[in-house]
C-alpha cells in the first residue's frame, strides 16, 4: 500500500530560486491496484516517485510505503519496493545472473534462495539464453528483462515504475506493460508514471494528473471522462493542464 500525505519537495536553484518539484501531493494506492501518474516532462513525476522510493527526502508532508514511513524508515521502505526507471541502468561488466544475485544479496537473501528465485524469474521472462552474458552486450529488450528481474528478486510488495517504456521499441514496451499488469494480478501495489496517454488508458485503475508539481486531478478513467466530458485521455489531460496554465 502507498499513502502520500501532502508530500512536498523543494529544490534551490541559483537562477530560479526555490522550485517546488512536488507540491502538496496526496494520494492512496491499494494492493492489486495500478496508480498512473500522468504528466508532461518536468511535471514532478520522477520527484514524486523518488520520494516514495526514498531516493529523495521530502521537505514537507509524509508518505508510507508498505506500512513504513519514507522519512523515518527509508531502508525498510526500499526493502519492500521494486523501483524501475528509464534512468536505472545495469552494470555493464556483470552478467545478468551476477546483476540479479547482487541485488538479491543487497536485499539480504541467502545464496540458495537467490539461485531458486533467479531460475524462476528467468523461466518467466525467458532469460536463460543470455543469463550468463555480460550486460553491456545486451539488446534493449534483454536489458529491460534483466532490470525487471533485478526489481523482482526480493519479491517486493510495492512496484514503482518511472517511465519504464521511455525510448523502447513497441515490442519491448508491450512486454513491459504486460509485466506491470502481471504485478497487479499478483496483488502488488503498483505506481506507474508516464506521459503516454494510451498506456494510462490501457493500464491504470486510478489516474493522477500532475502538473507543475501539483496533483491537478485524480480518478478512474471513467470518472475523469465523466467529470470533464471527454472520451479521449489526451483531451482530458489538455483540459486540466491547459486550464491551470491559463490561470
Amino acid at each position: 500500500m502507498i499513502e502520500a500525505r501532502h508530500l512536498t519537495k523543494t529544490f534551490r536553484d541559483k537562477r530560479r530560486g526555490e522550485i517546488r518539484a512536488a507540491d502538496d501531493i496526496s494520494f492512496h494506492v491499494s494492493p492489486g491496484q495500478i496508480y498512473g501518474l500522468l504528466g508532461a516532462n518536468g511535471a514532478g513525476k520522477t520527484t514524486t516517485l523518488r520520494l516514495l522510493a526514498t531516493l529523495l527526502k521530502p521537505t514537507g508532508g509524509s508518505a508510507t510505503v508498505a506500512g513504513f514511513d519514507v522519512a523515518r524508515q527509508p531502508e525498510k521502505v526500499r526493502a519492500n519496493v521494486g523501483f524501475l526507471a528509464a534512468s536505472t541502468a545495469l552494470y555493464g561488466r556483470l552478467t545478468a545472473r551476477e546483476m540479479i544475485a547482487y541485488f538479491g544479496k543487497l536485499n539480504g537473501l541467502p545464496d540458495a534462495e537467490i539461485r531458486g528465485r533467479t531460475k524462476r524469474i528467468a523461466d518467466e521472462l525467458d532469460m536463460h539464453e543470455f543469463l550468463d552474458r555480460r550486460c553491456d552486450k545486451f539488446s534493449t529488450g534483454m536489458k529491460q528483462k534483466t532490470s525487471i528481474a533485478r526489481t523482482l528478486i526480493h519479491d517486493p510488495a510495492v512496484m514503482i515504475f518511472d517511465e519504464p517504456t521511455l525510448g523502447l521499441d513497441v515490442m519491448t514496451a508491450r512486454a513491459i506493460v504486460k509485466f506491470v499488469r502481471e504485478c497487479r494480478n499478483r496483488g502488488k501495489t503498483v505506481i506507474y508514471s508516464t506521459h503516454v496517454m494510451s498506456e494510462v488508458e490501457k493500464l491504470c485503475d486510478t489516474i493522477g494528473i500532475i502538473h507543475g508539481g501539483k496533483l491537478m486531478a485524480e480518478g478512474t478513467l471513467a470518472g475523469l471522462r465523466a467529470t470533464h466530458g471527454e472520451q479521449d485521455m489526451e483531451e482530458i489531460f489538455v483540459k486540466i493542464v491547459g486550464a491551470e496554465d491559463a490561470k
Partner: protein, 412 residues
Amino acid sequence: MNWTNILTVYLKELKDSLRDRRTLISMVVIPTIAMPGLFALVAFISFKVASEVAATAPTIMVIGGDDSPRVRGALIAHPTVKVLPIAGAWKQQIADKQLRAAVELPAGLDAALERGESPGITVYNYDGEMRSGRAVQEVRAFFSAYAETIVVARLGERGLTPAAIKPLVVKTENVAPPEKVGGNVIGGFIPYFFLILAFTGAMYTAMDLTAGEKERGTMETLLCSPVGRGDIVVGKFLMILTASLGTVACSLVSMGVTLTVGGALLVQKIGAAGTAAATRSADRFSAMMTLDPLGLIGVLGMLLPMVVLFSAALFAISLLAKNYKEAQTYVSPLIIVILMPAMIGMLPGVELNWRLALVPVLNVSLASKELVSGVWHWDLLALIFGSSCVYAAVALWLAVKMFNREDVIFRA
C-alpha cells in the same frame, strides 16, 4: 554499519573493476611493466652514454705553445685526449660541440717553468656539457701530473722531498652501512614514487565508482537497494583503497625485482673494466641500491594512512562530478598538489620538524627519507601517523556526507 552489506558492495566492485581493462592497466600494467621498463630504459641509456663518454678520448686543440715543445709534446702524446690540429674558429667549434675543449699555452711556457715561475694556462670549454667537462677533467689531470713532476724536480734541486710541502695527508672513509648510504642517496625518491603511485592507483577507480556510475545510470539503481548509504560508501571506498594499495604493491614487487636483477647486472657491467675507478663506481652504485628493509617497512606503514586519505579525498571529489570527464577535470590538477610537497621532501636540507610533521604528504615524504636511512624519530613519526589518520578520517567523513547529499548524487 552492516559489514555483510559492505562486503557485498566491496566484492561486487572488486569483480567489476578486475573486469575493467582500464583499471587493470592503471593498477597492474603501469606499475609492473611500464614504470620499471621506463626506469630500466633510462638507466640503460644513461649508462650507455656515460660508458661511451668514458671510452672515447675527447677532442681538444692546443693554442700557442710553439716555443714550448716539452709541454706541448707531452700534452699531444697524452693518451686520454685527442689533439686536433688548429683549424677554423675553435671557439665556435666548442659551442657547436664539434670540439670539446681548447688549451691556450702562454708564450715561453717551457722557459718560464725552467725559471721556476708559475705561468697561467687557460682551458676553454662548454659549461655543463658532459663531453666538454670530461675534456677539461682530462686536461686538468694531465697538468696536475705534469706540475707534480716539476714540483718534485724543484724540491729535489733544494734537497727536499714532496712531504715537505704536503705534511698532512687527509683521506675520507665511509663508516655508514650501505643501506644508510643508499637511503640517503635515493631515499627521497622512494616515498615520492609510492605517493604518486598510490594517488594514481586510486584515481581511476575513484572516478569510475562515483562519477562513472552516475554517468552510466547505475548509481540510482544501487540507491534503490535497502543497503544504507554509509555501507555503500565504505564498500566503494575499500575498493578504491584496494586499487591504490594494489598499485603500490605491484610497483613494490616490480621495483624490487628491477633493482635487484637490473642493479646487479649494472653493477657487474660498471665494474667489468676492472680498473680502480670502475670498482669504486660499482661499489658506490651497489651501495645506492641497498636499502634498509626495516626502513622500507616503516615507509609503507607511514604511507598507509596517506593512501586512506587519497582514497577518501578522491572519492569525495569525484562524487561531485556528474560524469567521468568532469571528474577528470577536478582530479587531474590534484596530482600537482601531491607532487609539490613530495618534491619539496626530496630537496636536500629540508629536515623533518614538529611543524612540517603536520603538513600532509610532505610529512610522510620527509619521514620516509629518514626511515630508509635508518633514522627513527618515534615522537615525530607518531605525530605524522596520528595526523595522517585524522586527515584520512575527515576525508572519509566528508565522503559519507557528500554521498548523503541529494544535490550531489542526483546532479544532472
